[in-house]
Symmetry: C2
Subunit: 116 residues, 2 copies
Amino acid sequence: MNDNINKEAEIKKDGFPPTEVLYDLAELFKMFGDSTRIGILCALLNGEMCVYDLAELLGIGQSAVSHQLRLLRASGLVRARKDGKNVYYALDDDHVSSIFSQGMEHVMEGKHGDMA
Amino acid sequence: MNDNINKEAEIKKDGFPPTEVLYDLAELFKMFGDSTRIGILCALLNGEMCVYDLAELLGIGQSAVSHQLRLLRASGLVRARKDGKNVYYALDDDHVSSIFSQGMEHVMEGKHGDMA
DNA sequence: CCAACATATGAACATTTGCTCATATGTTTT
DNA sequence: AAAACATATGAGCAAATGTTCATATGTTGG
């Protein structure tokens, strides 16, 4: 069949990820690219937490947290466990921790040795 | 004075990054959270490139690339080197590579073993 | 110096995003 | 069963975002 549809793209790109992968990557990093969500992820590094406690820790509304948790779950970054009235969220991906710490290193380096 | 303004926040947060750091982290990851920018960063993993070539590789306008490169440079992720008419951009942060590959792993895992 | 080229930048515009508010769903307690 | 509590969700809205278009700036070759 016409497997030359994106041949042209693949040929010159030579090992460059296809558009679809770049799109998925961007979607993933978007999850880290909001202070509320990165706060949630960071909080969950220390173990699971329920929605209300997350809201209190981050100082924002329960609804906002819930909305963001839905996105994080859709991305496969967190999972939910229901226990009575509460729903406890936990990290569901090993990469979160390493991505987070790499980002933290970058941010921390910028804190001092900046003016060369 | 009232130095207890964010005392309450700091006390219970206990090791949780201050709001400012979370904000900076989010700003950093935002740079990875757009398919154009992640495409640029990915391209630069293989070495420096000029604006026009980036635009062609990514299949978008020169202006769009230029705008995004400005953001990437402001974030300290890329640096620019002028050579004649051209400006060559290169990665300027060791963490880009590891953040990128961690993200790629996450994306690739989602490609198959998804329906448990 | 002028034309062609490479990049940068500002303005305008459409889209996306993240919050709040109101309300729905589900659970425990009395 | 009713009240109190925890979470989820849809609508609406204001702010942020990314692209395009037009144009400015700077560079090389004739």
